[in-house]
């Protein structure tokens, strides 16, 4: 079986390998869940039905929120990482600040963020903002690491050939951090999926809130289904979510991981 080895990490390359690792794995988990529900009658599907179409559309809403938050996180993280590594004085000041900000539990801030966004009747903004904060530091720190491992010879060679400022950024720094951007993005979006379960169920953070204030998405359907013992809806939501995560991994991240290997220094 043909494999590509880079930096002691083996990435699935062939279609067969990618099917095994990314599609079959999650499907086995889903099948096991169905099996557990089948074997234990107390968990048998019950409650009000939500159609597969509704859950799928909800999942796409969730995906859209994640994508907007991710795009914002990248747009902010790249300049931040470049700024913090620009010189040692800036790094000495900013990096500890970033460390503290990263350590602040995002969910502790969520009620405040919701109260802020509810003023503008923009609750989607609250969810996107909390997802953005979750993703941001993952990407920033992996990019900072990426910039720091650009070999000195490469920087020296670029300077000898007249590259500086924006040209250095465009021709050397930005391409050099592509592998870290990809791995950081995978981690960030994974954390986003973790948080989405909470980020869409807004009513628990609003004093006197009702489920009508929740955002339409697979996260809120999942939580409400669990709370109301709608096992069938719960199972279907988890399945749709896993399928979407698997598809994104298969069609986007694995391809980007493979492509990004070209940008790695030996």
């Amino acid at each position: 079986m043909k494999r590509q080895r880079h930096h002691h990490v083996i990435y699935p390359v062939t279609m067969k390998e990618r099917l095994y690792t990314i599609v079959l794995g999650p499907l086995i988990i889903v099948a096991l869940m169905y099996l557990v529900f089948a074997l234990y009658p107390q968990f048998a599907p019950s409650g009000q039905a939500v159609s597969l179409a509704t859950i799928t559309i909800a999942a796409l809403h969730t995906l859209a929120r994640l994508l907007v938050a991710y795009a914002l996180a990248v747009v902010v993280a790249v300049p931040l990482a470049i700024l913090v590594t620009h010189n040692t004085a800036i790094e000495a000041v900013l990096l500890p600040v970033f460390d503290i900000l990263e350590s602040v539990p995002i969910l502790a801030l969520f009620p405040v963020i919701i109260l802020l966004f509810i003023q503008f009747n923009f609750l989607n903004g609250a969810a996107v903002f909390i997802l953005f904060l979750t993703m941001l530091w993952n990407i920033v720190f992996t990019l900072v690491g990426g910039i720091k491992i650009i070999p000195k010879d490469i920087i020296a060679a670029a300077r000898v050939f007249g590259l500086s400022g924006f040209a250095m950024l465009r021709r050397v720094t930005l391409p050099a951090i592509v592998p870290q951007l990809v791995t950081g993005s995978i981690l960030a979006v994974a954390q986003g999926w973790n948080l989405i379960i909470v980020a869409e169920v807004l009513h628990t953070y609003i004093p006197g809130g009702t489920s009508a204030q929740d955002l339409f998405g697979v996260g809120s359907i999942l939580v409400n289904a669990a709370a109301n013992a709608q096992t069938h809806v719960f199972l279907l939501s988890v399945t749709v979510m896993i399928v979407i995560i698997g598809a994104v991994n298969f069609f986007v991240w694995q391809k980007l991981l493979h492509y990004s290997q070209r940008f790695r220094f030996d």
Binding site: D153, A156, A157, A158, V160, L163
Partner: protein, 234 residues
């Protein structure tokens, strides 16, 4: 006519108590091939960086032309660019016309035997091939001075010998001024018209090598090597 001139040059890095180099005075004539040798940490790479403009001197005066070019020990190729695009880096930065870039890069890749691999990526190349591309990149900008920082130190003996021959041929054909840092006395004597021995951050001795090329097999070559070796290990 001298193209490079150092007068009492010193360089102290920020936070260091002792200077990396001090009281360096020497000159290089146009078309000369000079090798800098010396033990590790003696300051030879710092001298090269000062000529390349990668470091600023702390004391003294340096005369050097603009557009100095350099090849590095690691090759220092950008892994996401093809051989051609790597070799074209300097010319693209100078915003030369595409036709001129193509001609110059093809010429230099041919001179180092890499033209047929122009569309390969550095990951597809051997260490020797990467070095060849690094040299082609340095030559493509038609520099007045070519600096080489231990370009062959990571290569096997056979590849090194081949590259020595290629470099000698290129130097004789182009009449470029070449300054090379090496930690091998044999290499310096094999290539250089002059060998400068550095020690403790300054120039210790200079040796004129008046031998015809190719030098490696001649008796005089071994005699010169032995002479410098005695001083090196003094």
């Amino acid at each position: 006519m001298n193209i490079i001139e150092f007068k009492n040059v010193g360089k102290r890095y920020l936070g260091e108590r002792t200077p990396a180099v001090h009281d360096i005075s020497f000159s290089v004539a146009e078309g000369e091939f000079v090798c800098l040798i010396g033990p590790s940490g003696c300051g030879k790479t710092t001298v090269l960086k000062l000529i390349a403009g990668l470091e600023e001197k702390t004391t003294g005066t340096i005369t050097r032309p603009d557009g100095v070019s350099m090849a590095f020990q690691s090759g220092a190729l950008l892994p996401w660019l093809t051989v051609f695009d790597n070799a074209a880096l300097g010319l693209r930065q100078r915003k030369e016309r595409a036709e001129k870039i193509s001609q110059a890069v093809d010429r230099e890749l041919r001179s180092v035997g890499m033209l047929t691999l122009h569309d390969k990526y550095p990951a597809d190349l051997s260490g020797g091939q990467r070095q060849r591309v690094g040299i082609a990149r340095a030559l493509a900008v038609d520099p007045p001075v070519l600096l080489l920082d231990e370009p062959f130190s990571a290569l096997d003996a056979k590849t090194t010998a081949e590259l020595h021959d290629d470099l000698t041929k290129i130097w004789r054909e182009t009449k470029k001024t070449v300054l090379m840092v090496s930690h091998l006395i044999e290499e310096a004597v094999s290539l250089g018209g002059r060998v400068i021995l550095m020690r403790d951050g300054t120039i210790d001795q200079t040796f004129q090598i008046d031998l015809p090329y190719p030098r490696r097999e001649s008796e005089h070559f071994h005699r010169e090597v032995m002479k410098i070796r005695r001083e090196f290990f003094r």
